[in-house]
Amino acid sequence: MNVLDFARAFFTDSAHWHGYDGIPTRFAEHVGYSLEALVIAAVIGLPVGLVTGHYGRGGNTLALIATAGRALPSFGLLVLMVIWLGLGTLPVMIPLVVLAVPPILVTTYEAVRSVDPSPVDAARGMGMPEARVLFQVELPVALPLIYSGLRTAAIQIVSTATIAAYVGLGGIGRYIIDGLYQKDYEKVVGGATLVAGLALVTLAVFWAVSRLTVSPGVRRSG
């Protein structure tokens, strides 16, 4: 049996399509955790990245924070949080957010930093208030890069959210952990395929959002 056979076996088994352990439920759980973590990380990372990028200060500090964030092992944090906080979603959210903040923060900072200075200069010269300079001049141009940071974060979250299963939560990781202990490769491969599929969906969503919200002027010239 090769990987493809496992995947086919997994997806054709009708038992996998309903109930609390069915694909729809697990998929929805996974999307739920991932979205929640992404939103929290974005709420932390975007404003800080935008403001520091706008003023061009604190790049070194951000880089340090980002490195530290990347260096902390998500899995280790998860276990530590479970030990400290017990079971629940919070111990899962913390490592996911720690994982996702660095790429969002750093790319947002870089994106705003690297906006061509001359339109910004022109905007100030025509008497635009700073907030408008940030939101109406820098942000629209920085958007594609900012999306790429969010996208990286989202993919990492989707992939890493599987560890929630280790501490008894649901999500697609359930198939992988269960498969490991039950020595059931169908589940592992099926779970991995689902995660990869969700990653592709994520990519598609970002592509669509960027199509809709990035000005054609930026898209074509960037």
């Binding site: 990987v3 490195t67 530290a68 990347r70 260096a71 902390l72 092992p73 998500s74 899995f75 280790g76 944090l77 276990v79 530590l80 479970v82 030990i83 400290w84 993919i155 989707v158 992939s159 890493t160 599987t162 560890i163 280790y166 990781g173 992988i176 952990i177 498969g179 490991l180 490769y185 592992v188 491969v189 779970g191 991995a192 995660v195 990869a196 969700l198 990653a199 592709l200 990519l203």
Partner: protein, 217 residues
């Protein structure tokens, strides 16, 4: 036995032993990734059409959780370090290939034209011009790959204590010794930050030709 650096016997290693094991499990895959990604990246540069599919495949690979890889690979490599290292090497490819491709592509076209006009053959041009100029980009990629590799090794704990420092997490849990988990997380974090710092140092040493910070912009 309850000192911060005293480990339960079932870990089979001293603290420093685990650190060494961890570094080996984390760094060997990055090295392997680097060795593989150099030619792959060069192919992507040479034949532009290869790059998008390579990027697509690597992105999907990147999305597959490490644990899933581990479980499937147990079949081929058993519950061994190899099983842990193979996916890590794959992940490092995902970071390194684009980094090298972008680095090599970022070489200014005038520089390439100048090299071509001076009679550099393709191999010489790659080794003596493109690659050295891509060093900062390559190291930037290596930094990300190394740090995340160091962090990911810990998941190996789930496949029979192959997670080096991550193995402490299991004991922390089963014996309810949270200090072990703190130790594990902090040590792994510190290793990551140190490795990152070391790579920055390597970059500074290798690229005396880069404008110093602040001189630019």
């Amino acid at each position: 036995m309850n000192g911060f650096f005293d480990l339960p016997s079932d870990l089979q290693h001293s603290y420093l032993g685990l650190v060494g094991l961890h570094l080996r499990e984390a760094l060997l895959p990055v090295l392997a990734g680097l060795i593989v990604s150099l030619p792959v990246a060069q192919l992507c540069v040479r034949f532009r059409w290869i790059y998008p599919p390579v990027l697509g495949i690597t992105t999907v690979l990147y999305a597959i959780p490490s644990l899933a890889f581990f479980v499937v690979l147990i079949d081929y490599f058993g519950q061994s370090e190899t099983t842990v290292m193979v996916p890590l090497a794959l992940y490092s490819l995902v970071v390194l290939v684009p980094a090298i491709v972008d680095g090599v592509r970022s070489v200014p076209p005038e520089t390439l034209a100048a090299a071509q006009a001076m009679g550099f053959g393709p191999v010489r041009r790659y080794l003596q011009v493109q690659l050295p100029i891509a060093v900062p980009a390559i190291i930037a990629g290596l930094r990300v790959a190394t740090v995340s590799s160091i962090s990911l090794v810990s998941v190996g704990m789930l496949i029979g204590n192959q997670g080096a420092l991550g193995n402490m997490l299991y004991d922390a849990q089963t014996y309810e010794r949270s200090a072990l988990a703190v130790n594990s997380v902090l040590t792994i974090g510190a290793l990551g930050v140190l490795a990152d710092g070391a790579l920055v140092l390597v970059r500074v040493l290798l690229t005396p030709w880069m404008p110093k910070k602040g001189a630019g912009r």
